[in-house]
């Protein structure tokens, strides 16, 4: 194999992607099925002059990652369900303080300790709503090992560009399987770095309201002394009780993401043009579903597929457009229906949204999907 062609697990591809994107700091705490991310990071980071630290728990890991980023290194942590729950408070902190970082959650069977070694997609809603209070977040979810590499790079790019925590939502299937990955040459993919202040320190406002709504970020120690706090703050970065400032801050935080949906929303359409039924899917379920679409088409059913690579923000407008034409929508998920309820909210009321769900630790097979779809179609035909 060529040097740049590697046969990797999803977890390994994530680490390679991260280092490609410039990750030089990793803090974590082991947990199945994410552990390989920490392990490979511990082996590779020193080789590129980067730092790896195993913290005492997930809370500390998340905290250290924020500290690491503020110290100037691109930073990442990785965990699974229980650890993701523990990180929530500090994810909210990263969000309101606008400190770029990447959090990988390799989903496993929940709730609680659940099925630690089994796959699941049960943390989709948690990725958006897990911390208290409204806050912006970007959540990406890959469907293959090689895409894991690319979306990890994207995750860092988004984190830096929009100064926000980005969650990479993997699942155990993608995380643990091995596939071919072609590592691009340096420079082949654009790497984005945080915008630095250009003004003199006296004029620096750490949370300035600029046109792009993303304030320039000085790293600690670079000659700009400023304050970072999880309290509501004004553009100087100092706490305020002003309701006006609170509103302004929250608006900016939400808008810096929502104004850039064109850039942030990543998705894939497969055989959409003539589709009569539509699958909306993500993560490892996109694999079953693609197979499913192929089989259905062979059997004369015009199925199409819309794959969410960006889960949050949700590609609402895009789905609305598809929904103009396609009224029967199937959402296969390894949970009890989390993306489904989001789709239900968006579609026309003359549409039907069907959840194909399983949360027992097994991946849903193409056969199971097709059986379900055919059942529904038969039933509709009888109406």
């Amino acid at each position: 194999m060529h040097d740049n062609v590697k046969f990797l697990q999803g977890n390994e591809a994530c680490v390679h992607g991260a280092i490609y994107a410039g990750m030089r700091f990793f803090a974590g705490y082991p947990i199945t099925p994410s552990t390989e991310i920490a392990e490979l990071s511990s082996a590779l980071l020193p080789r590129v002059g980067g730092k790896f630290i195993q913290m005492e728990d997930e809370i500390a890991s998340m905290a250290a990652v924020i500290g690491g980023s503020l110290g100037g290194l691109k930073s990442m942590t990785a965990t699974s369900g229980p650890g993701f729950s523990l990180k929530q408070e500090n994810i909210g902190y990263a969000s309101i303080t606008e400190i770029p970082c990447v959090i990988v959650n390799v989903q496993r069977g929940g709730p609680s300790t659940g099925l630690p070694t089994s796959p699941s997609q049960g943390d989709v809603m948690q990725a958006k709503w897990g911390t208290h209070g409204d806050h912006p977040i970007i959540v990406l979810s890959p469907t293959s090992v090689s895409e894991t590499f690319y979306l990890t790079v994207k995750a860092f790019n988004f984190a830096e560009k929009y100064r926000t925590p980005v969650i990479l939502l993997l699942d155990e299937v993608i995380a643990h399987m091995r596939e071919k990955v072609e590592i691009p040459e340096n420079g082949e993919i654009e790497i984005i770095n945080r915008k630095k202040p250009t003004c003199i320190p006296e004029e620096y406002k750490a949370y300035e309201y600029t046109d792009d709504l993303v304030p320039a970020m000085a790293n600690f120690g670079e000659g700009y002394r400023y304050n970072v706090t999880g309290l509501i703050h004004d553009e100087t970065g100092f706490p305020t009780n002003s309701t006006k400032e609170a509103e302004k801050l929250l608006n900016r935080l939400m808008s810096k993401i929502n104004n850039n949906l064109d850039d942030i929303l990543i998705y894939e359409e497969y055989l959409i043009d003539d589709a009569e039924i539509l699958f909306i899917t993500f993560g490892c379920m996109a694999r079953s579903t693609k197979e499913s679409v192929n089989i259905l088409r062979e059997q004369g059913i015009n199925a199409g597929m819309f794959v969410l690579k960006t889960i949050w923000p949700f590609p609402e407008e895009k789905i609305k457009i598809l929904n103009k034409k396609i009224k029967n929508i199937f959402v296969p998920e390894m949970n009890l229906g989390q993306i489904r309820i989001e789709v239900e909210r968006i579609v026309d009321k003359d549409s039907c949204v069907y959840g194909i769900n399983k949360a027992n630790g097994e991946i849903i097979t193409p056969e199971e999907i097709n059986d379900y779809v055919k059942g529904v179609l038969q039933c509709l035909a009888k109406l």
């Binding site: 803090a27 500290g67 980023s69 408070e89 120690g221 304050n227």
Partner: protein, 275 residues
Amino acid sequence: MPSKIIENNFRIQRLPHIWCSGCGHGILMRAIAVSIEELNLDKEKVCIVSGIGCSSRAAGYMNFNTLHTTHGRAIAFATGLKFSNPELTVIVISGDGDASAIGGNHLIHACRRNIDITTVVFNNNIYGMTGGQYSPTTPTKDRATTAPYGNIDKPFDICNLASGAGATYVARATVYHVKKMIEYVKKGIMHKGFSLIEGVSICPTYYGRKNKKGSSVDLMNYLKDNFVDIKLKDKLPKDKLNGKIFMGEFKNTREPEYVDEYFKIIDLFKKERLV
């Protein structure tokens, strides 16, 4: 017009601080500023990291790189900060609750790792910010809003705890014994490794009032009368030590520092590459 030391080290437009009249935290915050000033540190490289609590509000006033984090987690944030940029002088300011209740785990692990961070605990024996609940350092039998019939918990000796966990510089002074405080903070900052300095503070508003211990002056007098330098332990007669609390330097050892050790690993590969 503030004094030079205040002007040089504080965001004076944000003063006076929100702390109550007679709150000891202001005394400790100044002691840290004096230490930084006297050590002639590059202010651009000084980082103050704090958690949540009255004490943790200090970060907002001090004119350095300041990071006001979540409750109990300051040391974990600081660990990331220091590790990512070892040029920084990282000082954590934390309360007794912040550092030893919710943040206890991060404290003991930083002690164990011996990472070059200086932590100053503003110990007022109470949760001030939330209005006077007992903390892990509230003495047994004292009253607090959640101990209306007297606290039954045994308090931590934060210095003992840090020593047991492996910190390499451990000292205690009080808001009465400020010169000592400055001495220890300076030593702590210069110390290569994790140092913990407990600054015994006073909270007249909650701790003092709840326990009918009088004004801030009374509380200061209590510190004056009851804290004894550990150096005198073997010199004073037993009865003079009765009920007294020790202050001073409890530990000062040199052990490998975390970031240094990590750089050795990085260097391993650097060398390889150079060959």
